[in-house]
Symmetry: none
Subunit: 461 residues, 2 copies
């Protein structure tokens, strides 16, 4: 209560403060409301849904935003795409196709502890484009990692055995942070980021994202299991029985069931249409509507399944609200103002130094954010604007920040909701999580800066 | 499968049929898609969510509608208000306040099932003039009806008990359709209608509306519970012990708990703000956002509660889609085309026959409208004009159409956004909703024609 009261008082004071020169009262107060919502969330005083709902009520009732503007995010095609994709992803888990794919990969790559870790990265990387929610994907990857640890005899209570489990669990955390960076459609905030980047003249589609992300991300995916293997040193290194166990599990599953076939067709169809959306001038959201309609009409998804997806509604609401705020702040000139101020402060920097500083600062700031999306909405546009003003080429910088929005999710246990299942597994202490999170995030940042920078310059205009 | 195949083939044939003269291909095909979705639902071939999702995918992917237009319904304030009302209504049930109010009403009116239904009509009719949004009012009446059903022991799972719940739920639907007709200020489109009527020399104020509406509307309010009671035949009819049991339950509940007080304050606050929304220029949807935010911040509603509200998301999706279709059909001139055809066809009618035909046609056309306001805006002026040209007295005809704009809301589940909470309650099947909607709307039309016509002639100049 005291924490909330302090924040509320500070916000009320800020509301009545006259705005810095160059900002309208409207832009300033909208910033106060938006920043207030973020502060309540970061201080763990309010859930993000509550903060967002109160923020939109406040901004409309005080006349800061017209109702039409304030609610416009709900009709945004990108946000609807995320909502639909959440619903569609449920079908992969429900029909058992996700588990089957996991078993297939373990049967090929599961002979050693390191191979188990790589199989997690591989499964995750392959299914990621069909899962715009990395949190939803963690619902597939976590049971896989857990059953691998279990099959290999790892137990949370036994120190030497525990280390195998910890290794696989943290592999899951890092894998999710990288698979999300690889595909435009692998994380909810990615399409939002491309929308914002479009405002800076940077056009990123499904194919150009994959091309740009591929080299640094795949390099990280290859190096991270080795790094974790060396740092965490699991004593059990060989699991010769895992492939056979996976084959037995596959045999027990039998041939593809009818629902798995439907889901396979639906996903292959959607991914194909999404990939050719630009060429065929198809609306990606309409493709997702079609996919959802097909899954519902074939009874692979039922109304009963949808009725359990209240979380998706909550996400829809806070996403739409925060997205609108971010857009309106931009429209009212706030982002430009902030960017100008930051740019002024970094006046003497060369373009290279400025770009590097912006990326490092962007990543470090994730220590105070609980949501990747909130971080992106709050800072991505501003950082991009500052960089552009200081002469950093827009497209590579946008891509550095977009990739960072994914790989920095491992930095703290609460850095992404996709971490929560792994953090709660009993295999990893808070100390482990922070230590390994800092290490892997720093290494990923290095890899993206060193390998990504020349690659981005090469493939992005 | 065969049923769906037949419908699909008919729709494909209609799609490639050239449109009637005076209609664009776009308007015609959009009508085919919209009507197709409704036919699939009415034929019980697809759930309304599936049909709507496929319809919007089809209309965007074929280029009939731009994505921005097709998804605009998701940002519509009225639709968001419904979504929020769903979530907010949950708190009345969860905290036990609904049960308490239910017990209070049962202790006074609960000797019979019929008494419970009348208590809904009574409460609704009395609070209506303060609620210019019947949708907002449904957010108060629905939890009441739900709590009455709950207090009387109705359960969606148990067939004989379920019928009591269905009876009370549909009582709510019909009650809202009539309470809106009783007061000028009880529904958003009423004042709009009086504005249009003024153009035909018909002056209607708060008092003259009430005077004219009173006799037929109160007659309907008295008859409708009896009609529904006879048709729906709830097995539990007499509950002589209910009032005493309710009083015992009230005693056992003890004084108001903390959460009940919060909900009471939130609802009284929302009702007060909704009632004064027009005067204070407050946006009703923002008021609902504020209420939801307050309930979440005070932990009366939790994120866990919201996570079970996937049904609300389903309703949000299909309603936004159908609402948009209806609006677009109007915008593309389909509605106006229909009205003009009608006027042409009625060239030789006597004044009486013309008036009756216009009222019947106006009511039947509500099958294709999702919004009462859109229906009124599209057709009220046209129909009044046609009637006056054919010699029907303007004032009684205007009043027949204005009342119809309210009572026809029960005709389909999507006929008014005020129906959605009841339609989504789990007590009423799509079949029930269409069957009972047709029956009660037909009976109301009869009552207004038979009792209303002489009364309107008597009291209106």
């Amino acid at each position: 209560m005291t924490k909330s009261a302090v924040i509320a008082l500070a916000l009320i004071a800020a509301w009545f403060t006259s705005p810095p020169e160059g900002l309208t009262v409207q832009a300033w107060r909208l910033f106060v409301v938006f920043a207030g919502a973020i502060v309540f969330v970061v201080a763990n005083a309010l859930p993000i849904l509550t903060a967002s709902v109160l923020a939109v009520a406040c901004s409309v009732l005080t006349g800061l935003l017209s109702p039409a503007k304030a609610y416009s995010g709900f009709a945004n095609g990108t946000i609807l795409l995320i909502v639909l994709a959440f619903l569609v992803a449920r079908s992969v888990v429900k029909c058992g196709l996700g588990t089957r794919i996991g078993h297939i990969l373990v049967s090929h790559f599961g002979k050693s502890t390191l191979g188990l870790s790589y199989s997690i990265f591989l499964v995750d990387g392959l299914i990621a484009p069909a899962f715009p929610s990395n949190t939803a994907r963690s619902g597939v990857i976590f049971p896989l990692a857990f059953s691998l640890a279990d099959a290999a005899g790892a137990k949370p209570g036994d120190e030497s055995r525990r280390r195998l489990g910890s290794f696989l669990m943290f592999s899951g955390v890092v894998s999710l942070s990288l698979s999300s960076a690889l595909w435009l459609t692998a994380m909810a905030a990615n399409p939002l980021g491309t929308e914002i980047a479009r405002g800076f003249g940077v056009e990123i589609g499904f194919g150009s994202w994959l091309l740009a992300a591929s080299v640094p991300t795949i390099a990280s995916m290859v190096l991270m299991p080795l790094l974790l293997y060396r740092v965490m040193a699991p004593e059990l290194t060989s699991t010769p029985q895992a492939p056979a166990a996976a084959r037995r599990a596959l045999a027990a599953l039998g041939p593809l069931r009818r629902d798995e076939k439907v889901v396979l067709v639906a996903f292959v169809g959607m991914v194909a249409l999404w990939a050719s959306a630009a060429t065929l001038k198809l609306d990606s959201t309409a493709v997702a509507f079609l996919g959802l309609g097909g899954l519902l009409a074939s009874n692979v998804l039922t109304l009963e399944d949808i009725s359990h997806e209240g979380d998706v509604l909550a996400t829809f609401i806070w996403f739409a609200v925060l997205f609108t705020f971010s857009g309106q702040l931009n429209e009212l000139g706030f982002m430009g103002f902030l960017g100008q101020r930051l740019a002024d402060a970094m006046g003497g920097f060369s373009a290279g130094a400025a770009g590097l500083t912006l990326v490092v600062a962007y990543v470090l700031l994730h220590y105070v954010f609980v949501s990747q999306t909130a971080h992106l909405l709050a800072l991505f546009g501003v950082f991009l604007d500052v960089g552009v003003k200081l002469g950093v080429p827009a497209a590579p910088l946008a891509f550095h920040l977009l990739c960072a929005t994914n790989y920095f999710s491992a930095i703290t246990p609460q850095g992404s909701s996709a971490n929560l299942l792994f953090a709660g597994s009993g295999y990893l202490s808070q100390r482990d999580l922070y230590r390994l999170g800092a290490l892997t995030t720093a290494c990923n940042m290095l890899i993206y800066v060193i390998i990504g920078t020349p690659w981005f310059r090469l493939v992005l205009k």
